[in-house]
Symmetry: C2
Subunit: 345 residues, 2 copies
DNA sequence: TTGTACGCGTTATCAC
DNA sequence: GTGATAACGCGTACAA
């Protein structure tokens, strides 16, 4: 009968106290690193803790402290890689803590979305939540968190909230840098595949495009702008239209990788070679960007850093302002961009 | 001062009991649907619960019941889409329950992996865990769960455990079906890009390939088998070798989509047209399969069903055996396969 | 520096 | 059917 330590037989703080010959309050002090403790006592208790392999019961702790150590991840994201990368970053930040991450996809389009989230938050009584785009752009959701006294940090492409509740990627500037790069390569006629109006990220990327084009004094009239909704198919359709424009653009910036992949598809159907006859830039640096042919130049979010920062803001609200809020994505240069061949007219 | 209900002011079972004029045990009975309750009492209590918007505190419940309602997802997966789809399936299964999902990536290669998981399980005292491949193939991990009295269900490509602790995809048969399809299309010279030996899924897919080839009495000597480690680059390298073989294979089955994408890349570099000169089949049906050109024929796991079933097995152990354990993946037919052009020799 | 008594919100026991 | 009362494991006044 040796060696078993089943669920029902886990040692409690009382066991530790009894065996160490102290009160459980003393054990509690050891666990919580109270400074006023005799060194001998501390070491004795610690050795018993180690010997029994005692681990405090988080449920009991949560009950006594009137707060738990669960943080939620709210997302409604079509981009699996991004959600998973974010999870990874958060988990890295909380690795040495007693926090755990609980995930909750939400349906942006459901009329009961807010009620669903409310039920979830009331039931789980989370320490706080991290909210990913695009659902992070929903101000009612943030308001709900405040109302319920639930901490939150939003991730977004613009200044959605104050710095204590936000990690922000500067999509506008990142798109500007991408356009600068295309111009450096010699492109003058650059088209945009914009994302859906409802998304703040899409708006920011569109603004970044227009600002950069204006800065370079390049034409970006409506014939050079098409719109999609972040899917492969709509990217394909948008590119089909753009590739009919005369003179044909020598480069297309697509507001996400999926649409860029669709654009690549459209070019191939027309026997327009990428990158020789058409350069292509995407956004997000999803797995697809690196694994299509040609590998695609794209904008990469510093997602791990953002996730880490968001988690720390949530866990240590007092120092939330000290964590960086602004992050700049960088351009990953791959084979889908080259200098225009010169016969673009 | 009306309308606020902050974290610190949530109504408790005592509030409900006091206002309804009953004991809290009675309220508890209402919550837990005890059958022996006066109808009037029940309705009275229920109306108070509704009025106060009372929600039981899960921490207190967990403490009293000596078990919580958290299920963990253990994974070390390179395939983000699969992990997220699995999450989706699990969450669908537990939607109406009080269970929540907490995620935990693990590092398969870390020497401290088992200790890390042990710490995690002891700390969180989960109701149980769901384990995704390839880490699900680790028997020590399952043994650890049993030792800790933590429920578990593994997802795998073979009979890794008894039916109460396993949802199994029949990769061998699925690959067989894929090969059958290629043969139907007229292919006779079919090559395999196998996965890494350490993965059970890779072994099963390899067996499926050889069994099917034998069934059709086709040659599948070592010159027609190359190995990769499930990455794009190794798929590319493997295909480079296979495409040098004479007579050149007219079709390649790659053991996952990433390697298939690599093979596509290799073919393109050699100006071997897919599918005209070479048919290609992948495995997993990840996002990449549908979004490359040509769209790739691949094997799709019924991942949502498997996730649902796994979650239900975990939550209702008494009926675990009733949940299906075996799932057959099906072939998604896309443009990367066609009949061989006949000049393959 | 350490211990006692009690509270956190729920379920379980066992009377009535 | 219903209600006192005692767990569950831990934290915190406050006393010693």
């Amino acid at each position: 009968m040796a060696g078993e330590r089943k669920r029902d037989q886990q040692p409690t703080i009382n066991d530790v106290a009894r065996i160490a010959g102290v009160s459980k309050k003393t054990v509690s002090r050891v666990i919580n690193r109270s400074p006023l403790l005799n060194k001998d006592t501390r070491e004795r208790v610690e050795s018993v803790i180690a010997r029994l392999a005692y681990v405090p019961n988080p449920q009991a702790r949560a009950l006594a402290l009137r707060r738990n150590f669960l943080i939620g991840l709210l997302h409604d994201n079509p981009n699996a890689q991004m959600v998973l990368s974010f999870q990874e970053g958060v988990l890295e930040a909380i690795r040495e803590t007693e926090f755990a991450l609980i995930v909750r996809p939400v349906d942006r389009h459901s009329p009961s979305m807010l009620d669903d989230v409310r039920t979830f938050l009331e039931r789980q009584r989370l320490f706080g939540v991290l909210i990913l785009p695009p659902i992070s752009e929903n101000d009612e959701l943030a308001e709900l968190c405040r109302e319920l006294g639930c901490g939150y940090v939003r991730m977004g492409s613009a200044k959605l909230d104050d710095d204590a509740h936000l990690v922000e990627s500067n999509d506008r500037q990142a798109v500007g840098n991408a356009i600068d790069y295309l111009v450096e390569q010699g492109h003058r006629r650059i088209a945009l595949i914009a994302g859906p109006d409802g998304f703040r990220s899409a708006q920011e990327r569109r603004k970044g495009f227009h600002e950069a084009m204006a800065r370079h004094q390049l034409d970006c009239g409506p014939e050079l702008v098409a719109q999609g909704n972040y899917t492969f198919e709509t990217g394909l359709a948008a590119a089909e239209r753009l590739l009919e424009v005369s003179p044909r653009p020598t480069a297309i910036f697509a507001s996400n990788d999926e649409m860029a992949a669709g654009a690549l598809h459209a070019a191939r159907q027309r026997e327009i070679d990428v990158p020789r006859d058409l350069s292509l830039v995407g956004f997000d640096d999803t797995a697809i960007a690196a694994h299509i042919w040609p590998p695609m130049t794209t904008v990469r979010w510093p997602i791990l850093s953002m996730a880490r920062s968001a988690a720390l803001k949530l866990i240590y609200p007092a120092e939330a302002e000290k964590q960086p809020s602004k992050f700049l994505s960088d351009l990953v240069r791959r084979a889908s961009v080259t200098s225009p061949s010169g016969k673009s007219g």
